[in-house]
């Protein structure tokens, strides 16, 4: 498959990434500003008061009017251009994205430039924006799986990585309009902003337009974020529910580490797909749960493996025991067949990504953030082809699993063995 990948860098540090995808009418664009929830910690340091949720509140307020459009006019302009827009906040980035029929791209880029460079941050919109963030936080209180994963993140990651990106009600209630303005002034900056575009695309025109809209935008560097303490290794959240939710985490290499491929392949053997060990042993053979899986979550400098299951309280202990057993049993037992299945699934995933302009734009941005480059599909497929059981086993042998963070949410706490010895 012939691929057309493009990159460019503007003088002010904005990175442009593009891929022409044949056979589609649409184009997707995403803007990733280095203003994720980790920046909440820098605001906390600056103001000497906990600001968890500030990045999320800033994202909400930025969409409430920009340039010469008020809140309603802005959304109407995006909707009328048929832009399927979204806004989100991760640990590292505040992101604004849109998918549309390609002829709408030039007009929508102007709207995104307004949102990023000229948000109104209208005082009268502040209270409703904060109210929306608080409503969403109340909603997550009612989602036991989400609560479990938040507790796991808090327990396993060092601060501030362990703090919830969406914020906490206690902090958001105390945030002010000035806090948001300061946050936007300080962190919504062109340096390291990634603009990724994929689909039916005229790349030279796109670069020209981004230059016209963004090249005179200057910013100043922001401070680095340092890692603090981690939480408790074993944690139970009492919750009156029928099911007990179990989540486990342990450290693995981040995406940019060449060894991450061995680690993610091992994780896929453990908990990816319906023939994975966890699915087979926990659900298929024992019928202990409806959902069980393992996955990989990476930041630039640290990454974690996570495993999850939700099950009836009286079968939760058995579920945890089986999960821990399968995790410990992995080294030395991976088969060629298992690896073949991991490769087949990964290969399909990579090829099918080419059918979604939004998925491609997002994937290119993530690769650039972690690697400082985009790999071609051919390169990604070759890396998969070169993966062997031996290379995975060597990695597992050199990196024995010593500590697993265990979180449960439900009526009763579970018994967790003291140490994990492989």
């Amino acid at each position: 498959m012939k691929q057309t990948l493009q990159t460019a860098t503007l003088d002010n540090g904005i990175i442009l990434l593009g891929e022409f995808l044949p056979g589609v009418e649409s184009v997707s664009v995403s803007f990733h500003v280095a203003a994720g929830s980790l920046c909440d910690a820098l605001s906390t340091r600056e103001t000497d008061r906990s600001c968890c949720g500030l990045a999320t509140l800033a994202g909400e307020l930025m969409l409430r009017g920009a340039g010469d459009r008020d809140s309603k006019q802005l959304i109407a302009a995006l909707d009328n251009a048929g832009v399927q827009w979204s806004q989100s906040v991760s640990m590292s980035h505040g992101s604004f994205a849109g998918a549309m029929v390609s002829r709408q791209l030039p007009d929508s880029l102007k709207i995104y430039a307004d949102i990023l460079r000229r948000p109104l941050l209208d005082q009268s919109q502040f209270d409703p924006a904060r109210q929306v963030v608080l409503q969403n936080l109340a909603g997550t209180e009612d989602d036991p799986t989400h609560r479990t994963m938040l507790a796991l993140r808090k327990a396993h990651y060092p601060s501030p990585w362990g703090l919830p990106s969406e914020g906490t009600s206690a902090d958001v209630t105390k945030l002010s309009h000035t806090d948001v303005k300061n946050f936007v002034d300080t962190f919504i900056q062109p340096q390291d902003m990634i603009v990724s575009v994929a689909g039916r695309l005229d790349w030279p025109e796109f670069v020209k337009q981004i230059e016209a809209l963004f090249s005179d935008w200057q910013g100043q560097p922001t401070e680095p974020i340092s890692a603090g303490e981690r939480g408790e290794k074993i944690c139970h959240v009492p919750y009156d529910s029928q099911q007990t939710h179990i989540a486990l985490a342990w450290d693995v290499p981040p995406y940019r580490d060449p060894d991450s491929l061995q680690a993610t392949a091992a994780l896929a053997v453990l908990g990816g797909g319906s023939s994975s060990r966890l699915f087979t042993e926990v659900r298929e053979k024992r019928g202990l749960c409806y959902s069980v899986s393992a996955g990989y979550q990476t930041q630039r400098d640290l990454a974690v493996a996570m495993a999850y299951s939700g099950t009836t309280a009286d079968r939760a202990q058995e579920t945890l025991d089986v999960m821990l057993h399968e995790i410990k049993a992995l080294p030395g037992t991976i088969t060629n067949d298992e690896l073949d299945r991991v490769k087949a699934r990964a290969k399909s995933g990579l090829v099918m990504q080419q059918e979604s302009t939004a998925a491609r734009a997002g994937a290119m941005a993530r690769q650039w953030f972690h690697l400082g480059r985009i790999r071609t599909l051919a390169e990604d497929l070759e890396r998969l082809d070169n993966l062997t059981v031996e290379s995975i086993e060597n990695w597992l042998a050199k990196n024995p699993l010593t500590e697993i963070t265990t979180v449960s949410l439900g009526r009763d706490p579970l018994e967790v063995p003291d140490a994990v010895s492989p």
Binding site: S26, D79, S274
Partner: protein
Amino acid sequence: MQFRHEQLPNGLDIIAEVSEAAHSASLGFFVKTGARDEHDSISGASHFLEHMVFKGTDTLSAEDINLRFDFMGASANAFTSEEDTVYYAAVLPEKQHDALELLSAMMRPALREDDFVTEKQVILEEIKMYDDQPPFGADDRCRALFFQDHPLARSVLGSTSSIEALQVDAMRAYHQQRYASDNLVLAASGAVDFESLVTSAQQLCGEWKPSPQNNRKVEFSNSHSRTVTDVITREQAALEYAVRMSPGPAEDTDDRFAAKLLAVVLGDDSGSRLYWDLVDSGQAEHAVCHHHDFLDAGVFVTQLSCEPETTYALIDRIIEIYQEAANGLSNNEVDQARNKLLSRVVLAGERPRQRLFSLGLEWAHLGRYRSVTDDLETLDSISRDDLHRILAEWQLTASSSTVLAGPLLKDSPTT
């Protein structure tokens, strides 16, 4: 895009929307059966059977099925609704035959007793999982109240007691009747080799037997529904969740398209009347309206989540918003909603996996094909007056069923 259709002598329909530009092929069996085809003693059987289909055939174990899907790199799954049970796999084009071979084998499951006993535990876990999370069963309860003695009142999951009581023999009988060759559609989309699909299907499914099927339609009269409210109390919930249903056009009328456009104007998750009034202002966490159509009935569903003490006032406000809409919509808001929907149709059309479901369900229900272009033209042809007519005809503010779930108690004041 090219549409193709063949029918095997045993009545199995094979349809495909072939796209040269696609990188993958998606295929699926659409079984015309769901909760509405059950009765009390087998409530939840369609969904439980969907799980059992993955537990193997006379020659394949459950593990074999999982292994094969993963070996071919398939993204495979299934779902059950009130009216349909759908099994699907997205694969690279060279795996088309392998995927069909496996999916078609699965349509004739062994339904072994020991698998049935183990999988029953998984179904009971799934019921508990949904019971623990919003809207805490309010959707099922609301549908039961709204549809009363109509088959659409039935729960897809069934209840803990109906699943515990279900016997494997009853499931076998249900399977034999509902998975007959003429009650299934094989649909495919993307980079599909249609000739090869038909040849393979002849080999793999040609021996399946047809079976006479009852007419599934049951008249649903508006007089069935009255205004009722029920409350499910969940003390520890942070928010109150409300589900409200009122009648709308069924899928066999062209008005279903206008009804969907109207729902976007009224209650899309952004830029709609409910959004600007309730969500943007921070009064509600979530307030949406959508239109859902079935074989013989349609329904406008309103969902709200908010702080418990504001619930009744916000429901009153939603009814006011619907009344205001009936007084007249603006051209701008109708055009904005239309532009949104047009874009959604174009983007969904690029993904074979998304096209598969539109394609398969349209054929399973109505026996016809609608292209992306048909959908775009229909959307373009709907006028503001059509929406006014729908509002006048279906009276979103009149008869309805509403169920609340959350901290509120049953004896709280009703609207």
